[in-house]
Every structure is written in structure tokens, then in C-alpha cells.
């Protein structure tokens, strides 16, 4: 019986977003196929893991999560260096937690020297995430953005209700931006349109479809990503952005990761990350170095085309 295979060929690849400068530049996106299906298209840039650090010592992290970092966590600059030197990070995510009112409500004056020192000593591209309080973020992020002008960072997070300040400042200072939507494909597209309408290059937007942990609705995000990808591939340019997922921060909130010893938490993070990769994730922000190492190795294995040309 002759075999009838159906190969999917898509018309529109995902945008490629570059983060950082020179030899250290990290490229994400660019794929023209669903994850790792190399018969049907290409993935010119392997997905990548960015370890997440905070700009202050974490107060709520579990012992199993803090363990591998030791006392480097007392100083974000040392913590960042440890991620690069000991854990081989090629890109780093810095969350400006200290600016949130619940964690000290620090000002840009406090944060900028830290971020500058990290940028200088880590020597890898940076993802800078606000503390999550809209008002504080709108005050602090523009100043941090300006301090890192020309470094080609990735800044976040812009939402449907709060995107203008961040988009304007990223535009002025030459950074890319993370556009977030609440597990909703229409809002995802809407935020991308709103930001693009401000004159922002769509090829400098990275989408955050919202992250949920394994066992806490991971499958909703999984399906939203698949839907978004399929729409982008057949020509919806306002969904053709790479995906970023904040796997670490979501996973390490769950009781399964906090209450059952390190191994289960690490595997919870691995399991969530791999599911996101199979849904089309391009950039995974992760926390535990063992989970990050496993996922980096997994990506290497998954990118192996197994002798296929």
C-alpha cells in the first residue's frame, strides 16, 4: 500500500527577535514549523533558557530553590555572575522585585546601579522585568530603560491596560518588549496591535501568553500557544511573535514544588518547561539551575534532527 503522508508547509515564519549586542547576541524565534518537526520547516534558533534572578534577596523562595545559589543571593551582582559562570547562562532575566511596594518599594536610584553592575559583570544579554505593580513599574522602568539605552535588552511587562509608558521608553532606548495577555488569543493579538500602532516594530515584540504551572492549568496555555502559532503560520502577522514563558516563578509558587523536597520541585519545573517547549516556547525563564540544565540538554536533544537533512 503506497503511503500517503501529509506534510504541513506554512507560509509565514515567526519573527526573529535579537536580544543583546555583538557576539553575545541571543536570537529567538524564526521557526516555520511546529516544535521540532524538521521535515516540515526549520527552527533556525534553538529555544533558550534564561535563569531568573531578583534585584534583592528573595524572602519567599523555598530552601530547595535557594540551595544551589548559596550566599550569592545576598548580592544580585554576584548572583548574576554565578548564573553565568557556574550555570552557563547565555542570557539572564532580572526581576526588579525590590521596586514593588510589598518588597521595599525601592526607586530607580536604587535599582539602576545594580542593573548596571549586572550588565557589566555578567556580560550576557538581559531581560528586565518590573516588580509587577503598574504604578511603580511606570515610574521605575523608563529610568532603567534609559540607563541601559542601546544595550538591546528585552523589557517587560506590557499589558492591554498598561503598555504605553513601557512601549514608548523601549522605543526611545532601543529595547524589545514583552507583551502579555491573560491566556486569551484575541487579547494577545490586540496588545501586539496596540504596541505596533505606537510605531513599535512588531519584530521587536515577544509574547507572553501567561504562564501557568503543571497541574494548575498548564494545558490552557499549551492550547492557546498552539492556536496562536497555527494562526501565525498561515499569515496572521500580529501573532507571529516568539513566545516567552515565566516557568520558574509560576512553578515555585505551587505547593507541589515547595512542600515535597527538591527533586519534585525540580521535576515540576522540568515538566512545565518541556510542555511549553512542545507548544512552541522560544524563551523559558526558569529558576532552579538543575531544571534549567535538564531543559537545556533536552533542547539540544530535541534539536538533533537525527540524520535528516
Amino acid at each position: 500500500m503506497p503511503i500517503e503522508l501529509v506534510k504541513e508547509k506554512y507560509s509565514t515564519p515567526i519573527n526573529t527577535v535579537e536580544i543583546g549586542l555583538g557576539a553575545q547576541t541571543v536570537k529567538i524565534g524564526g521557526e516555520s514549523t511546529l516544535p521540532f518537526l524538521f521535515d516540515e520547516g526549520s527552527m533556525p534558533n534553538a529555544p533558550i533558557v534564561a535563569p531568573e534572578i531578583l534585584d534583592c534577596e528573595p524572602t519567599e523562595w523555598s530552601e530547595s530553590l535557594k540551595g544551589p545559589f548559596g550566599d550569592s543571593m545576598k548580592d544580585p551582582v554576584r548572583w548574576a555572575s554565578k548564573c553565568v559562570k557556574d550555570f552557563n547562562a547565555k542570557i539572564l532575566c532580572v526581576r526588579l522585585q525590590s521596586t514593588h511596594p510589598d518588597y521595599g518599594g525601592k526607586n530607580a536610584d536604587h535599582v539602576i546601579p545594580i542593573v548596571n553592575a549586572i550588565a557589566k559583570s555578567a556580560g550576557v544579554p538581559l531581560i528586565i522585568i518590573g516588580g509587577g505593580d503598574d504604578e511603580r513599574d511606570n515610574d521605575v522602568l523608563p529610568k532603567v530603560s534609559q540607563a541601559l539605552k542601546g544595550e538591546n535588552c528585552l523589557f517587560g511587562i506590557a499589558t492591554q491596560n498598561n503598555y504605553k509608558t513601557l512601549a514608548a521608553t523601549c522605543l526611545a532606548d532601543g529595547h524589545s518588549i514583552i507583551a502579555e495577555s491573560p491566556i486569551d488569543i484575541n487579547i494577545a493579538k490586540q496588545v501586539n496591535i496596540l504596541i505596533s500602532d505606537m510605531g513599535f516594530d512588531p519584530a521587536r515584540i515577544v509574547m507572553h501568553p501567561t504562564t501557568t504551572s503543571l497541574g494548575y492549568g498548564m494545558e490552557y496555555v499549551y492550547s492557546i500557544m498552539e492556536r496562536g502559532r497555527l494562526a501565525a503560520f498561515i499569515g496572521d502577522k500580529m501573532l507571529a511573535m516568539p513566545f516567552v514563558l515565566f516557568v520558574g516563578s509560576e512553578v515555585w509558587k505551587t505547593k507541589e514544588s515547595k512542600e515535597s523536597g527538591a527533586a519534585q520541585g525540580i521535576n515540576w519545573e522540568v515538566a512545565t518547561a518541556v510542555s511549553m517547549l512542545q507548544a512552541g516556547a522560544d524563551l523559558l525563564v526558569m529558576r532552579h539551575p538543575d531544571a534549567a540544565r535538564t531543559i537545556t540538554k533536552y533542547i539540544e536533544i530535541a534539536m538533533d534532527r537525527g540524520g535528516n537533512k
Binding site: E4, F36, M218, Y222, L230, V270, A271, G306
Partner: protein, 444 residues
């Protein structure tokens, strides 16, 4: 995939002989497409056309049953490529490899470990399904003895993996009533192993190195009388394997290509347990009907089983939590009371933020039929009356000394009405769960 009237018409004699009682072959074809009439009414249909039409009426991916009784597993009969198109129906079976080269004590230990892989999560029991016994000793007696030991000590489904037809025949016979999965070692021996499967009324997994080979072999074993077949695609790279699974599923669903219309089996290859977990989850996400792995530590298996549970959730049917009072932290009679819906993600998000606020709080989930706050409000499943009713029936009045209730910021419009019908003072909470810690810390 159902055929259209025109597709059927092409297979009919096109003579308009009226023997079927219809004026034309086309009219008969239309009636067939609507399943209003049986194909038997046409006395002139060719054997080939009959086969094509009958096979079109079958599900595109065969349902395969392994095992018997309450532990049996059913895989296959899937209808979509992506879960958002409808849903995935038959959760992948998760199996563990036991090698007969292990010592007796190690085999015993493996079985008892695997039997313990059972967990409860969101009201469902999730567990391991199958033990695959591999004849790695190449010794027939050892194989039979291991198979008997497994069969005697567990009700889990059994898969048999031996390249020796004599050992396989005897092992299959030893567990005949259990409907084990017979795994053939390669394509060329598939017909021989098909015979063993046939004699023991068991499903057969055909091991092949390419989809072309699979198509030939599933056809051959079908002719040998085996209906329930599983595809074991022996590709080295996990991504090649997933590409193969994707092709097989697509050919079955989009082209109704029967020779690939069977569930697939995947053995993991990674030795490192964390990587093996990642590999196994990839197969579960991408169409595997059975995943068989080596590692059986519960720290790896629990997240694996949860991943399967997640992916096989019905996307149209939200997961719900029980509508009741949830006590978060060491609550007292002065603790705040907050209401939300019983959509599991809404509840888990709220509960997580309440927990991180470190303010002990009563969270009451209203029965909103599993909808999130705004959806439930729009659908009138989260109304002032419903919330008032929940407050009353929950018994919260006996637990706190105040009558203040926090509602989600998005439904602040319900405040007036809720105060009126419930007699509780309404506090409007934040719109997003992320605002909860700050809100609760300042709540009085």
C-alpha cells in the same frame, strides 16, 4: 473521516439500475452518506468498493484494548491533531520496564514500586497502567518466570517484549486471560508474532524503523487476523519519533489512511531520570498511546501523571473545585472572608495569592459551573443572589464574628444588590489576583 455523498458515488457502479429502490446511484449515495440506508441494498457493488466504504465508516484511529477488567486500558480512537479542536479522548497508558535479567528480588522490588505509583489529584486517582517485561536475559525460562511473577503480583496491564518467538508464545499463553500486549521485535518477524497474538486473543505492537514499513506490516498483520495493532516506531531521535507520530496521526485523520490508523507506542531512551521525564512528557503531548519508561521514582512519575491529566482535560469543560469554604492559613473568627468562583484556575490563583499574603483568610467558592469571574458574571452564574445563597448555606456565619465579605473587583457592580439580599457588608477587592496580598494586608 466520513465520506461525502459524492465520494461514495464514485465507488458505486453508476448504472442507475434502480435495484436499490432509488432512482439514481447518486440519490442512493446521498442516502448512504446520511446513513439512511444500508449498503446491502446495492446488489452490484464490487468487493473493493465495499471494503473502501466499510472502512470509511470505521474510526480513523483504531481503538485498542490492553488488559481486562478494571485495570484495562483503551488507547487510540482519537479524532483531532490539536486538543483545542475538540479534545484528546484516551489518555496515554504509562508503563514501566521490568527486565528479566534483574535478580528475583529486584523484580519483586520493581513490581512493588510500580504498584505504589498511584496519586490523588483534583479528585481523580492517577496511576501507572502497565508493566512491560523485557526478555533481556535472552533466556526463555527466566522470561516466563518473570512474566508469571508480574502477573501473580499485580493487576496492572502487561506488555511482553521478547525477540524469541518460542519464549513469547509460552509467555503469552501463561498470561492469556490478561490480554497482554505482544511486542514484535522487528518488521520481518511481525507475521510470526501476529500468530502468537492471534492464538492468545491479544493486541500486537509492530516494531518498525520507518512509516513505510509500518504501513506494510499493519496491513500484513491485519490480513493475518489481528485487528488491534499498536505502532512501535523505532527512531533514534525523539524529535524524529514525534515527527513520525505526527505523520501517522495526520495520515489517519486527514486521509483516512488505515494502515497508519493505530495508536503508537514509545519507549523512552534517556538514561538521566529528569531527561527521561522530559522525553516521556513530549510523547504524551504528541500523540503516544503508550509510553514505557525505565525510571520509576515517584518524584518523576508524579509530574508525568499530572502532565497526562492536564493534556487530556476536556478544553470545553473547565476543571472545577468543590464549591465550599476553603480555610487558607490559621483562620480565626476575625479573618477576612472572600468569595470567588469555583473554576479551578480562578480558585488556585486566588488561593496562591492569599497564601503569599500570609493573612489567614476564608475563601468561599460559589458554584459558578466552573466559569471564571467575568465569564460567570456575564453568564449570570455569579450573581448577587447566588453569592448570598452560598454565604448562607456555607455556614460561614458561624465561623466569623463579622459580616464583611470581599468580592472580586471585576464584579464591584454587584455590591449594592449583594448587601441588600445577603445582609453582609460588601468590600470590593482587587480586580486581579496579584493585588490580593496588598489588599488583605490592609483589610480591616
Amino acid at each position: 473521516m466520513a465520506l461525502s455523498g459524492l465520494d461514495i458515488y464514485k465507488l458505486l457502479p453508476k448504472t442507475n439500475c434502480k435495484d436499490c429502490g432509488f432512482a439514481t446511484c447518486l440519490a442512493f449515495a446521498m442516502a448512504l452518506a446520511q446513513k439512511k440506508v444500508s449498503l446491502d441494498k446495492c446488489p452490484h457493488i464490487t468487493a473493493n468498493a465495499r471494503e473502501a466504504l466499510e472502512s470509511a465508516a470505521q474510526p480513523p484511529i483504531k481503538l485498542v484494548t490492553i488488559g481486562t477488567g478494571s485495570h484495562k486500558i483503551e488507547i487510540g480512537n482519537e479524532t483531532v491533531m490539536y486538543r483545542h479542536e475538540q479534545k484528546f479522548y484516551h489518555p496515554s497508558a504509562i508503563g514501566f520496564l521490568v527486565e528479566d535479567a534483574f535478580s528475583d528480588a529486584d523484580i519483586g522490588k520493581a513490581i512493588s514500586d510500580i504498584k505504589k505509583l498511584e496519586f490523588e489529584r483534583v479528585g481523580q486517582v492517577i496511576s501507572a497502567n502497565l508493566i512491560c517485561i523485557r526478555n533481556s536475559s535472552k533466556n526463555k525460562e527466566k522470561f516466563i518466570s518473570a512474566v508469571k511473577k508480574v502477573a501473580a503480583s499485580t493487576d496492572l496491564c502487561i506488555a511482553l517484549d521478547s525477540s524469541d518467538p518460542a519464549a513469547m508464545a509460552e509467555a503469552a499463553k501463561a498470561v492469556k486471560g490478561r490480554r497482554p500486549l505482544i511486542i514484535s521485535p522487528d518488521a520481518k518477524s511481525a507475521p510470526e508474532f501476529a500468530k502468537i497474538a492471534k492464538e492468545n486473543n491479544a493486541p500486537l505492537a509492530v516494531t518498525c524503523t520507518s512509516l513505510d514499513e509500518v504501513a506494510q506490516m499493519t496491513d500484513a498483520v491485519k490480513k493475518a487476523g489481528i485487528e488491534e495493532v499498536v505502532i512501535n516506531l523505532n527512531e533514534k531521535s525523539p524529535s524524529r519519533k514525534i515527527q513520525g507520530f505526527t505523520y501517522a496521526r495526520r495520515a489517519a485523520l486527514k486521509k483516512n489512511f488505515r494502515a497508519l490508523g493505530y495508536p503508537v507506542l514509545a519507549f523512552t531512551q534517556q538514561a538521566d531520570p529528569s531527561l527521561e521525564l522530559a522525553e516521556a512528557i513530549s510523547y504524551i503531548l504528541k500523540y503516544a498511546g503508550i509510553v514505557i519508561m525505565k525510571g520509576r521514582d515517584k518524584d518523576f512519575v508524579f509530574p508525568l501523571l499530572v502532565a497526562r491529566q492536564d493534556v487530556y482535560q476536556d478544553p470545553q469543560k473547565p476543571v472545577q473545585v468543590e464549591p465550599k469554604i476553603y480555610e487558607i492559613g490559621k483562620v480565626t473568627k476575625d479573618s477576612p472572608v472572600a468569595v470567588t468562583t469555583n473554576f479551578s484556575i480562578t480558585y488556585f490563583t486566588v488561593a496562591g495569592e492569599v497564601e503569599s499574603s500570609k493573612v489567614p483568610t476564608y475563601v468561599i467558592c460559589c458554584d459558578s459551573e466552573g466559569m471564571s469571574v467575568l465569564t460567570a458574571w456575564a453568564a449570570e452564574k455569579f450573581t448577587a443572589e447566588r453569592i448570598a445563597d452560598t454565604l448562607k448555606k456555607s455556614g460561614i456565619e458561624g465561623l466569623v464574628s463579622h459580616k464583611k465579605v470581599i468580592i472580586p473587583g471585576y464584579v464591584s457592580v454587584l455590591s449594592g444588590k449583594l448587601e441588600e439580599v445577603s445582609g453582609w457588608k460588601v468590600n470590593v477587592g482587587p480586580r486581579e489576583a496579584s493585588g490580593i496580598p496588598n489588599y488583605l494586608r490592609n483589610w480591616k
